[in-house]
Symmetry: C2
């Protein structure tokens, strides 16, 4: 069996509506979780940028070089502000043209008489891309080199994501484990730091305060590609928590 | 009266918990809205990066050069994974040291006997920063050059944001106006494109599909620093909508 390696990705959210704060993004958390759980791919950077061609071109070029995969969301609809396909074509110096299969899918979906210019636009893509089929609203996403372009509407994106799987190299899955306790971070920061040092190469320990039932608590999240190391960290953490007589929550 | 100019900002979200999808970010939309409404500052880029020193250093350097302001969130607590202050010190080649005022504030808040090393860490900052006072949990944020560092917990960040105002140059506020209609984007994409061309220098028109009551709709969002131009665009939009006998929704 070939040993799995770490595989990474970046997410590029294209859209003034997210950047302006008008719309709350939901795709980042979904994509990041899906990629890790289903493909062992770790998202290492996210960028949110406006619908401006030269900015999209610059970021696609840069991120596609730096990461194994790039996932773009948004800007693949029928209106004037949907410029993702044209911009990716420019980034890779590919022709921006009708994809024959996408054209047929959309013509069939809308019917010949209703297949207007706006709808036809959704079949225009960089040359020689692979399609990502769309079971909810027909208009396909597309894969250009290592860049996967998906729509911005979360429900449509979610319905398409499984169709990306066969094109992705699987990496090492990151396992995670959370311990929730009622205490303040500074009460355990010294011990956490010691445990993190002990496992600095294999486990990543994060500490996140929360408020619940009027009390302050901390979620300690450990993440590792090794379940064995994760269990060892958890044992060490539980020892510290016990010695300090802190209650572990089960929610 | 001095004529106001456009002022921009970038947001840098520092935190593995957002990047991994474990935590849903709430700070981007809040900060972007607050900056525009209260200060006329437009957010032009957002990045989400992991708790890794060299990545934080690189991004702080780059974004602080490219934008008028940078807002970082996360990584200013008492634990080992809170490395924002140390990283920003490195980015600007400033000493990472105790801020006397922050030290006094925290010592006073916790009491001398409970002021342990973790808590003291929250007083360590780049040399010669200005403090951003924190009415909810004492630990201050800080301003280094044009970089504003805030905590990651949304409720605490929200309580501190007004204390940033006096340090920010006000810019031109972007006004926005939304028309919600029951139709599909491709039914109006041609006309939208024409109106956008007519006002391409002054108004930015976006089109965003939505689902409601089992029907498909579109939100047309126009944004401009000029209320007059915005009204003109709205007039043109309403003409198109009327001519196509589309119903305008009032929610």
């Amino acid at each position: 069996m070939k040993k799995k390696k770490k595989v990474n990705a970046a997410i590029l959210i294209i859209g003034n509506e997210i950047l302006s704060g008008r719309t709350q993004d939901k795709n980042i958390a979904f994509l990041s979780n899906w990629l890790n759980l289903n493909c062992g791919i770790t998202v290492l950077e996210v960028r949110i940028i406006p619908d401006v061609e030269k900015i999209i071109v610059k970021n696609v070029k840069l991120l596609s070089k730096e990461f194994n995969y790039v996932f773009t969301t948004g800007g693949i609809g029928p209106t004037h502000d949907d410029i993702t396909a044209a911009s990716i074509s420019k980034a890779f110096r590919l022709k921006y043209q009708y994809n024959k299969e996408a054209f047929r899918i959309l013509e069939n979906y809308y019917g010949k008489e209703n297949f207007n210019d706006g709808r036809k636009k959704m079949a225009k893509m960089p040359a020689s891309t692979k399609l990502i089929y769309n079971p909810s609203s027909a208009a396909p996403g597309f894969i250009t080199k290592n860049v996967f372009s998906l729509p911005g509407v979360p429900s449509i994106l979610n319905s398409m994501i499984e169709n990306c799987k066969k094109y992705l190299s699987k990496g090492l899955k990151v396992h995670s484990s959370t311990i929730n306790i009622f205490t303040v971070e500074s009460n355990i920061s010294k011990q956490l730091s010691q445990i993190q040092k002990k496992y600095k190469k294999s486990v990543e320990i994060g500490s996140y305060p929360f408020f619940r039932l009027g009390k302050i608590g901390v979620s300690i999240v450990s993440r590792s590609t090794s379940k064995i190391k994760l269990n060892r960290v958890n044992k060490d953490l539980r020892k510290v928590i016990k010695s300090k007589k802190i209650k572990i929550l089960t929610f």
